[in-house]
Amino acid sequence: MVFTPTVPTDKDLHATAARRSWLRKTVDVIAYPYRASSGVARGMLVAGTVMVGFMVVLAIFAPLLAPAGFNEVETAELGAFPKHAPPSSEHWFGTNVQRFDVLSRVIWGARTELQVVLLSLSLTVVTGVLLGLVAGYVGGWLDRLLVLVMDALFAFPYLLLAIVVAFLLADKIPQGLGGGIAVAAVAITVVYIPQYFRVVRNSTISAKQATYVEAARAIGAPPFVVVMRYLFSNVIQSVPVIATLNGADAILTLAGLGFLGYGLQPTEASEWGYDLQRAVDDATAGIWWTGLFPGLAIVWLVVGLTLVGEGLNETLNPTLRVRRLIPVQLTSVGTTAQEPAVAGRSSGRGGEDA
């Protein structure tokens, strides 16, 4: 894995920020990459933030912005919707085979995508980071076992993994716990846990050997304190970059699941991938608007997230910024005997070149 920021790059920030309010500190942390970046990286960061921000606005204000509900086929103002109506002043993006308003589906879809991705990212980060910290810190057979399992998961074609998990869980999660949204989120989670695990574990191992951690252990700090105080804050820095890039990837995986008919039930929410599946028939019949807009929405959001991730990557990743001469690493720190099979895998589709 490439992200191994063992040297905190923002020490100064922390030093001064300590005196400020918590809120101010947060703002600083968020603003840091924007201030520290320059040139193309800043351009990507800003453009990406604007694109993602737009989608976030759509998602949050969907009830206000969308002309209709995601499964409504008539409203008081517009009356009953026609089927397959081309874009018009009444239906800006037209209507689809189910007589849904495509614009509304796109807007509500933003909410679904972000919900699923946020849920799956939280699940992934929590699980992946925890497992990685434990494996890296404890070491021994537990570490080896976890590495083995994670490598196997990682080696598998991710979409295949997501399909199988979505298939196995289909209908297993009750509506109260999120229903199809949760199924989709868990399916995606399983795909991405290994990446976090790997980064965090390797960072933990190298951080563990750092002088200050060894010192803390030497003076008898309990393991929990050592992990939380000295490792967690250090290791967690690599997460935002991967999380953003994975977010983009997760959108694509979700859309892929929807396109194949897994994950969300069509009645539960608006999902772009499902709408694209329904648009395949329309496309050959010359009805372009039912597929084009959901497709562009996916591209828009994925590009936005990718730009943010790339921008962050170039700004925050000291390996790339400071020591550009190091080529892509093939081995991770502390690989085990099993690892060569899949070593050198970076964060999926998103981060090969960091």
Binding site: V40, A248, G286, W288, R324
Partner: protein, 342 residues
Amino acid sequence: MAGRSGSLREYLLVRLLLLVPNVFVLLTLVFVLLRVAPGDPISAALGGQLPASELARRRAEAGYDRPLLVQYVEYLGQVLSGDLGTTVTDSRAVTDILVVNGAATLTLTVAAVLVALLIGVPLGLLGARFRNTWLDVVIRLFGVLTYAAPVFFVGIVAIVVFTGMLGWLPASHQASPIMQYSVESRTHFFLIDALLAGNTRAFVDGLRHLVLPAMTLGLLVSGVLIRLIRVNVAQTLRDDYVEAALARGISGRRVVLSHAFRNALVPFVTVLGLQIALLLGGAILTETTFSWPGLGQQLVQYINARDYIAVQGIMTIFALVVAVMSLLIDVVNALIDPRVRY
């Protein structure tokens, strides 16, 4: 020299031996996913709806009520003996699926990689050479776009344009039915069969059917290539010896091509090989979009039919492919660059 080749042999041997535990772990994963994970394939998609007695009957019928260890050993034995069972829904040997549909998938993926190389390598090199200029930005944007556009969306757009509007290219299957009928299936690779039969018309027909799916999938992979080549070449371009070469007055183009590119090759091959996951995932979607009779399309159909034997068999095939691919990558890298040893 002698010492080096000796260690190479040793390395390759170790690497080959490592294949065994690798495969073992992957097979275990497949087994655990399908049998142990919450929601076995029997009750999948029917959360608690089925009466307990009926559920028990179906589990017994499928042999799922026996101890897990017994099932596990039986499964490993099956894989070892090369018999992956027979599908429930249409009584096909899973190995037959591998041969017939695997050939279609291989055709598609090889063609897609060719397309990806054709697009990705020149653009990646250009991006590296003109790093941080407007050209680089455009190329990177293109890379981001190919990655961001879902492969089925690109496929749909391609069908609308090239089949629907222009009528230039066919949008489904490997060949026209009449061509498929006229060519005897020997290798199951339609294009090769057509050549063996000396049937150029069928060959051209097969190529025409291949264009849209291969372009669609190839575009997806090309984005990765562009990024990869751009960054690695750009990095090596900063190496001292490259700077020295430039200082000696060797042209920029030659430096890019002969020095930087070769040195970027190892990580390139590695990551490219690792894109097998991306490629196979993309293949599932591409095959579904274009009715391409490959493993991915079969898998989706069998999943929909809840044919767990077929699903397990195809998953096993994918697992083996992944393991073998990683072996090949390591071997190729060891041959390219002797420094690559673990």
